[in-house]
């Protein structure tokens, strides 16, 4: 979680996301709102860390829809607003998003959405560029972290000029790529007074019909605007090659690199909706063969084929026939596609086959000392003899889906654990239905699902693993942070039976689960204990020393393996008939000591460091 270490000479080392944030700040952005989600999180984190101005609002919001609404209010009031989310986050904000397009903005608004091709940290790899087409909004795309700064600024400029929100579409390799970023002088946004304009901003049908025409008109202005050569980059050789490649986003950065070795001309469009039709028409007319290189869906390809048909352009357009449809692209698969198309020999690559039994997969695991691990351990002990359906959710606790816990029958999207639990309870009245959800996800969308469950008096147990932070994305704050909002009281107030237990109180937790799980109606159990990463971080700030490291007394240990197999703490392993503690990992939570039937563990307080 390092940010921009200043360099003396040549720019500043930044993540693409940080470059975006700096660009937006330098262009005069005044309101930032978002919900954390990989790979988008560092945009707002950077603003939190670097911004000293009182006049700039920065919020993590409860979910993407409300974040979008906050930013929308700012943008229609004349502010320069920024919304950030991961790709699936825009689904949550899709409702306000679609109608704000009709209203447009009075200041400016940039919708920063980071897609995750290959699903490094996501449940799908949907292509946000479709959203631009759905809402009739422009989509801008940097190609690498280096030009992310510039395109963030241009996105705000364009939005202010045409009075529409603008989508800045990022992908994992732009967001989490690093480069040296050079800043341009900052400017302030133009001042605007607020005047009421209900005929535009109150979306009653009569106004919406007028707004639709307004949107059409603004969009045709965008189409004109983006024919300006700043929005694309052409590199043509003389004489021209017969192959022309049209590309955008990360894929374009690889094409640029490959141009040194392969014979083709290149057109990079930094706007992928709408496309600069006139410039592209000319480029297509100059080449007998066009290859569209884009990551994920054939969005540009479809538009170009339509354009060629309408304008009777005589060229052969290919794309997904050669370029993979799924997962992120890399230099090698683009190079192979170009060589295939040109009938050139492909470089020979020796792939060493790796045997799975030697090179063991290393899935992510809970951190050593993570309270979620303790909660899943307790759940499995308490419900051992029951027929359970586990409805899981999105966060660090999703890892409970993996061995040794295997506590997930399904995991769909944010907040779905409780919504789906209601469905399961209707279909399987004889089974035990358990929803597992974290605090941030509870406030994000679990709380509405809980109202539904209580309303329908569903027989479900909701286990909220409240660690007071949005941990998966790197410990951002949420309504539970600093106990600002209280999940136990909320659940009680809504009418559920509810209890709260310290996640490390093994006996109490197991007992409550066993006793209460069969009661009728909605039961909410809040397992509370801070995320160990978050706590370590706070302790460091407050100069509180670490708790210590656990020690094993092998004379007492009978090798029952509860701690290594059933709990599976990543700081513990069984090597040559001995339990070994990895001192660098152990966080001294003492949960292993709590469950050890032989009392073989004891905490040794750390002295060095």
């Amino acid at each position: 979680m390092l940010i921009g270490i200043e360099a003396q000479q040549k720019g500043t080392l930044l993540l693409g996301n940080e470059a975006v944030a700096q660009g937006l700040l330098d262009e005069g952005a005044t309101y930032f709102a978002g919900y954390p989600g990989t790979p988008s999180t560092e945009i707002i984190e950077y603003v939190f860390k670097t911004n000293k101005s009182e006049s700039i609002v920065v919020h993590w919001s409860s979910n993407e829809a409300v974040a979008f609404e906050e930013a929308a209010a700012a943008a229609i009031s004349g502010e320069y607003a920024v919304f950030t989310a991961k790709h699936v986050g825009l689904n949550v904000a899709a409702d306000p998003f679609m109608t704000l397009a009709y209203m447009g903005v009075r200041g400016a608004m940039v919708i920063c959405v980071a897609d995750d091709p290959s699903m490094h940290s996501s449940q799908n790899e949907q292509d946000t560029r479709w959203y631009g087409r759905l809402a009739h909004l422009p989509v801008l795309e940097p190609t690498d972290p280096e030009n992310a700064y510039e395109w963030a600024r241009r996105a705000l400029q364009l939005s202010y000029k045409i009075k529409l929100p603008v989508i800045l579409r990022l992908t994992t390799r732009v967001s989490h790529g690093l480069s040296s970023i050079k800043f341009a002088p900052p400017i302030s946004k133009p001042k605007q007074d607020y005047t009421k304009d209900p005929s535009r901003f109150v979306s009653l049908p009569s106004n919406a019909r007028k707004n639709k025409l307004r949107l059409n008109k603004a969009f045709s202005e965008v189409e004109e605007e983006i024919e300006n050569p700043i929005y694309y980059k052409k590199s043509l050789s003389t004489p021209q090659h017969s192959l022309g490649i049209i590309s955008a986003g990360t894929a374009a950065s690889y094409c640029e690199e490959l141009q040194a070795d392969l014979p083709f001309d290149l057109f990079i469009s930094y706007v992928t909706h709408p496309l600069p039709k006139n410039a592209l028409t000319k480029f297509m007319q100059q080449h007998s063969e066009i290859l569209v290189v884009e990551e994920l869906d054939p969005v540009i390809e479809g538009d170009l084929k339509q354009l060629a048909y309408e304008r009777k352009i005589e060229t052969n357009i290919v794309g997904k026939q050669y370029i993979p449809l799924n997962y992120e692209l890399g230099l090698e698969n683009i190079e192979n596609a170009i060589r295939d198309l040109l009938g050139l020999e492909k470089p020979e690559v020796i792939e060493i086959p790796l045997n799975n039994s030697d090179i063991i997969v290393r899935p992510p695991t809970f951190c050593a000392g993570c309270p979620h691990r303790a909660t899943y351990y307790d759940l499995n002990k308490a419900l051992k003899h029951q027929d359970v359906i586990f409805s899981n959710d999105i966060g660090c606790y999703s890892l409970g889906a993996l061995p040794p816990f295997n506590d997930a029958d399904s995991l769909l999207c944010m907040g779905a654990s409780i919504g789906m639990a209601v469905g399961y309870s209707e279909i399987f009245p004889d089974k035990t239905i358990v929803a597992t959800i974290g605090d941030s996800t509870f406030w994000h969308s679990g709380v509405t699902a809980l109202s539904n469950a209580i309303w329908h008096n569903s027989n479900i147990l909701v286990v909220v693993m409240d660690n007071s932070t949005t941990a998966m994305t790197g410990t951002q704050e949420n309504p539970s942070t600093n106990n600002t909002l209280n999940i136990l009281e909320t659940a009680k107030g809504m009418g559920a039976l509810a209890w709260q237990v310290n996640s490390f109180e093994n006996k109490e937790l197991v007992q409550i689960i066993r006793e209460k799980v069969k009661l009728p109606g909605v039961k909410v159990l809040v397992a509370k204990q801070p995320c160990v990463i978050y706590e370590n971080h706070l302790n460091k700030e407050r100069e509180i020393p670490p708790k210590g490291v656990i020690k094993v007394d092998m004379d007492k240990c009978t090798l029952c393996e509860l701690c290594v197999s059933d709990l599976n703490c990543s700081a513990l392993s069984l090597q040559n008939g001995e339990i070994i503690v990895d001192g660098a990992q152990c966080n001294g939570c003492e949960f292993c000591a709590t469950i050890c039937p032989r009392d073989a563990f004891s905490l040794e307080v750390r002295t060095n460091e």
Binding site: Q9, A260, I352, L354, P364, C367, M472
Partner: protein
């Protein structure tokens, strides 16, 4: 200008991001054209992670298959997992210290012997530099600096990065651990000088072979 691609691989939490960032920062100060890419999100939780460093006339942030000149591994099984990212006859620098995935306690799989892992690497290259980095760091009572031992080792294999700049960046980044961390870094340098002198002698060659 020369080019160099390094794939830094390891296990979430071992400090691969830290050393990757230090290298990029050094490159930036030395006015190289740099690109990097880091892992965020899910796999950071004890999963397999990597950090890619590209120095030279590159645009993209990812190293292609068989494109890395060097794999710098903070864990030996991870060196093998990423072996297909290495150029034929590229260099592998790895800690000998194994981090056994907790999952083997459940699946009862056996973590392979170091020799077995090296056999895999040999299918791609004989340039293997093994460093007891964790052991060295431990001997200075500074487990967390095993990554810096490896960083020191790397600097003996390529002349591209100025060790003095790195030393001052290390001190700046961890002011409280400044002394112990630089000791570990220097120990990495010394280890390669003593045990793999040929690489130190030939280190400019790696760069000359790679003109842009």
């Amino acid at each position: 200008m020369n080019n160099l691609q390094i794939n830094i691989v390891g296990v979430g939490g071992q400090g691969t991001i830290s050393i990757g960032r230090l290298l990029l920062q050094t490159g930036l100060i030395q006015e190289y054209n740099i690109r990097g890419n880091e892992t965020h999100g899910m796999s950071q939780r004890g999963g397999s992670v990597n950090f890619q460093v590209r120095v030279g006339q590159f645009k993209g942030v990812l190293i292609p298959n068989s494109g890395a000149d060097i794999i710098l591994a903070t864990e030996p099984m991870e060196a093998v997992r990423w072996i297909n990212s290495l150029k034929p006859d590229g260099i592998v620098i790895s800690d000998k210290h194994a981090v056994i995935p907790a999952i083997v306690n459940v699946t009862k799989q056996k973590y392979p012997k170091l020799e077995k892992l090296i056999d895999y690497v040999r299918m791609k290259t004989n340039n293997i530099i093994l460093i007891p980095a964790m052991k060295i760091a431990r001997s200075y009572n500074n487990d967390k600096a095993a990554n810096l031992v490896l960083l020191g080792a790397l600097l003996q294999v390529t002349p591209l990065f100025d060790p003095n700049i790195l030393r001052s960046l290390i001190k700046e980044k961890w002011p409280r651990m400044a002394e112990s961390n630089t000791i570990c870094f220097d120990a990495g340098i010394r280890y390669v000088q003593t045990n793999y002198p040929d690489y130190v002698k030939n280190r400019s060659k790696l760069i000359q072979d790679n003109p842009v």
